[in-house]
């Protein structure tokens, strides 16, 4: 079990969490769909960060960077059209707990430098995106 396998095993956790999220999106009530979509981009970002470290290829974090940008954007655009932006404590706490729990060990592993800056940027975007799109009072992003 080399360290890279350790990171890949860690990447498995958010990946396995995607299964129930898929079930929620496919079968859950309307409100849960957008929560699910929001959660998916968060979990995918985390899985990608861990996999990048696991494969030893820092250039894979570009994919995580684009996920952290497109995920919240997509959620907000869908919310605009479906006129429902459900507040979800699940997404918020997953972000507030999950992101630091993955980004900090990664920063320690990569050491200071341009790669760490990119990791922190991705972490910040993931947290900001999740918090904004899941806070209370944002129905469809538009208030009457």
């Amino acid at each position: 079990m080399s360290t890279s396998d350790g990171w890949l095993a860690a990447a498995l956790v958010p990946l396995l969490a995607l299964g129930p999220v898929l079930w929620r999106i496919a079968h859950g009530p309307a409100k849960d769909r957008l929560v699910g979509q929001n959660l998916v981009s968060l979990l995918a970002g985390l899985a990608l960060l861990l996999a990048a470290q696991g494969f030893g290829r820092p250039s894979y974090t570009d994919v995580a960077l684009v996920v952290s940008v497109l995920g919240p954007t997509g959620t907000l655009i869908y919310a605009r059209f479906l006129d429902v932006l459900p507040d979800s404590r699940l997404v918020k706490w997953t972000a507030l707990i999950g992101v630091p729990a993955t980004v900090l060990p990664l920063c320690v592993a990569t050491g200071p430098g341009r790669a760490m800056a990119k990791l922190l940027l991705v972490g910040a975007l993931l947290i900001a995106g999740s918090v904004v799109t899941s806070a209370r009072g944002g129905d469809g992003g538009t208030t009457a």
Binding site: F55, G56, R57, S59, Y60
Partner: protein
């Protein structure tokens, strides 16, 4: 594991075509066509994989490292563009068809028969 990716690609193709055949809403049908096409990406990249290989991008890897096949990735890229544009065009047709026919249910379209 030796055949699973190929069989998953075959499954996705068949389930996509099943969706197309039994669809009662043309927007859903175009979505099923996009699903059918994603089977070609899975098969393309599964064919190009090499055990223990890494991505053929040498910005952060030594140029003699064992890499997976870059050609299938270029083909998959082209294929994704084709998929996106065909989906967009067909959705435009469905949108206008809804305007002119008043419905998107293929069963209710009876213009071209016989």
């Amino acid at each position: 594991m030796t055949v699973l990716p190929y069989l998953v690609a075959g499954w996705i193709f068949l389930i996509g075509v099943y969706g197309l055949v039994t669809s009662r809403n043309l927007i859903h049908a175009v979505g099923c066509l996009a699903v059918t096409q994603s089977s070609t990406y899975v098969l393309l990249l599964a064919v190009g994989y090499r055990n223990g290989g890494t991505a053929p991008v040498f910005s952060d890897a030594p140029t003699d490292s064992r890499v997976v096949d870059p050609v299938v990735q270029a083909l998959a890229l082209t294929d994704i563009v084709v998929g996106a544009t065909v989906t967009a065009l067909l959705l435009a047709l469905v949108l206008q068809l809804r305007k002119r026919h008043g419905t998107v249910d293929p069963d209710a379209l009876s213009e071209l028969k016989g």
